[in-house]
């Protein structure tokens, strides 16, 4: 551990002189202290500034589209850059459906993994297991997209989709040609990408459930599953909800992997086999080649909507998770 550095190397002979230098030093240090704390405060304020800057720029640059279309922008489904008609409904629909599909797949899996790691898993396995799940989070989005294009999509079109349309085609959700690309592929790759975030936060939440809750339920003669259901999951409801909402926030804004497999057709179709388009994807595809100011402004308005939704979703999730984990003594109970 590094010791404190001597401030000066000059030797002082008399006590009075040393006291005097100390005083001088203190007054000199005061100015520097104030400078230092100001500089650090400015860095902190920069975080607020960045948020302000994002809001300001997005609002400023989307005003053209806002004035032209108003609220109709989000109810219209006509996206026609050539005739400058912009309605964002298909993108909103694509984002919502793909994210919800991802949640439906990812939530049971992540909660299962979290429960297994905290309640069932042998201690020796716990560390490596969390490590592997968190590795999933470290893979860049574009690599997931690459994998989805060359492995997942062919798999879907050859095996999964024919099977689904044969068995569940009557629901109307699984009809149409099996191209592989489309909502289903987007939902699945999103699910794979949000499992790590949901399960790692759910794990943290489960860990702060007090140990005596578990012991109490077990003492009543419950099996392990009953203990988990009554003693653990019921106590952790709010926190798990927070984890799920954080996952939703991540899914809503995810860009590259979705763009690569969703099919990029601005249409609203009930079948999950059909192509769709998401808000983030249309930004990725059209922004750098926007045909005019209105087009660019309309795209930025989509960005603004995406930003506002994720801000609200994230703030909600953080508050939920904070209320659960705050004030707990230490992470982990065993």
């Amino acid at each position: 551990m590094p010791g404190p550095q001597p401030v000066e190397t000059k030797t002082v002979t008399s006590t009075q002189a040393s006291q005097a230098t100390l005083l001088l030093r203190a007054s000199g240090g005061e100015v520097q202290d104030r400078l230092f704390s100001t500089a650090m405060t400015l860095c902190g304020l920069a975080v607020l500034g960045v948020l302000g800057l994002i809001v300001f720029e997005l609002m400023l640059r989307s005003s053209l589209s806002w004035h032209a279309f108003g609220f109709k922008f989000f109810s219209g489904s006509d996206w026609d850059p050539v005739n400058e008609q912009f309605g964002a409904l298909p993108f909103v629909y694509g984002t919502l459906v793909s994210s919800l599909l991802a949640l439906i797949i990812a939530v049971p899996l992540s909660v299962g993994v979290a429960v297994f790691t905290t309640e069932m898993c042998p201690k020796a396995l716990r560390g490596p297991l969390s490590f592997f799940v968190e590795l999933l989070a470290a893979i860049p989005s574009v690599i997931y997209g690459l994998w989805a294009m060359f492995v997942l999509v062919p798999l879907l079109s050859q095996y999964v989709q024919p099977f689904l349309s044969k068995t569940l085609g009557w629901t109307g959700l699984f009809t149409g040609p099996s191209y592989g690309f489309g909502m289903l592929a987007a939902g699945i790759i999103l699910a794979i990408m949000i499992v790590p975030i949901i399960s790692s936060i759910a794990r943290e939440v489960l860990m702060v459930v007090p140990q005596h809750q578990r012991e109490g339920v077990l003492a009543l003669g419950a099996t392990r599953w009953e203990m988990i259901r009554v003693g653990v999951l019921r106590n952790a409801r709010a926190g798990i909800m927070g984890a799920i909402i954080l996952g939703l926030g991540r899914a809503l804004g995810e860009t590259m992997a979705v763009t690569m497999v969703i099919g990029n057709q601005p249409q609203i179709k009930a079948s999950l086999f059909e192509s769709g388009y998401s808000m983030a994807s249309v930004l990725a595809n059209e922004f750098s080649e926007a045909t005019g100011d209105v087009h660019r402004s309309a795209l930025i308005e989509i960005g603004l909507a995406l930003f506002l939704v994720t801000i609200v979703v994230n703030a909600m999730a953080r508050l939920l998770v904070w209320t659960v984990t705050r004030g707990q003594p230490a992470r982990g109970h065993a």
């Binding site: 404190p4 401030v7 860095c43 948020l51 960005g303």
Partner: protein
């Protein structure tokens, strides 16, 4: 001995637990294990396939040449590799000081409402979609410069690094015992000096770990670069110098020109209809992962050695 204890503990309980409850318990345990398998399967599949396709696709040309014209076989991503490193360098130059500074503020001066507001904002910023950050980079840099540039990409990535770095720095500084700070104050050392030479220095390895986490996260980002760095099929600059009476020109990139980046190049090649470009996309993906891991381990190694030397 544990077996005996288990039998003793279970013996009176067995008749009480009904068959249905026991089966439910086993089924639920089985389901939990099944979820773990289902979650780990794609991880293994992604990594396995990445290594399988990547290793077979990397060659010397890939690492040393620039892209060939559309449809031609061969070429490589040398400019994208250098471009990525360059953009990440700019991002770190901007993002690390601000992030660490904000972290110091939160840990040392932030026990108030402003601190809570900044903490909350940082957490929320962490969840802003990267493509939206790209729009901001476009609006504040590209529009003023008049064209896409490495600088714009670096600024966008820096914005993404700050929240992560500031929160981990704060956490690490708060782990430093208060007694160390007090000892320093007792020696008459001013607060700024204490914070920098005692608190921050003690927490160095943790702070660096946070920085590397942020770095690894933005290193693979594609979305914020699409309309900031934009990509480039060649070099934007040559460094010219004379050595032993000969002139050399080393290809490099310019901060104010459209610049290729590895994730962008992977994206473009993946969407192309050419098999050779698909091959290169896989090679690029493997190089990207290896570079991220190498950068993170190198910095951690150096830091660990540095702190041991100081101790």
């Amino acid at each position: 001995m544990p077996e005996l204890a288990a039998t003793v503990a279970r013996a009176p309980a067995v008749p009480k637990i009904s068959l249905r409850r026991r089966i439910t318990d086993h089924v639920m345990t089985g389901l939990a294990i099944a979820t773990v398998v289902l979650v780990l399967a794609p991880l293994i599949a992604v990594f396995g396939y990445l290594v399988y396709r990547g290793v077979g696709s990397i060659n010397w040309a890939f690492l040393t040449q620039t892209p060939k014209p559309v449809g031609e076989v061969g070429g490589g991503m040398a400019n994208a590799i250098v471009g990525s490193a360059f953009i990440l360098g700019i991002a770190s130059l901007i993002g690390v000081p601000f992030g660490v500074g904000a972290g110091i503020y939160l840990a040392e001066f932030g026990r108030n409402r402003l601190g809570s507001a900044i903490r909350f904002t940082a957490d929320v910023l962490n969840g802003v979609p990267s493509i939206v950050i790209g729009i901001v980079g476009y609006a504040i840099v590209v529009l003023y410069q008049g064209h896409f540039s490495a600088l714009a990409g670096g600024v966008a990535l820096a914005i993404m690094m700050v929240p992560t770095i500031s929160r981990t720095t704060e956490e690490m500084l708060l782990l430093v015992p208060q007694a160390l700070r007090e000892a320093a104050y007792g020696l008459g050392i001013p607060r700024w000096r204490t914070t920098l030479s005692v608190t921050l220095r003690t927490a160095t390895s943790g702070v660096i770990t946070g920085i590397m986490l942020a770095f690894a996260r933005v290193a693979g980002e594609t979305a914020p670069l699409i309309f900031t760095a934009f990509g480039n099929t060649g070099w934007s600059r040559y460094l010219r110098f004379a050595l032993f009476g000969k002139d050399f020109a080393v290809p490099f990139v310019r901060y104010d020109q459209p610049t290729a980046a590895l994730p962008l190049q992977i994206y473009t090649y993946a969407l192309s209809p050419y098999d050779d470009w698909h091959r290169q996309a896989w090679a690029g993906a493997l190089v990207l992962i290896v570079l991220i891991v190498a950068a993170v381990s190198a910095v951690r190694y150096v830091v660990r050695r540095g702190t041991f030397g100081a101790a």
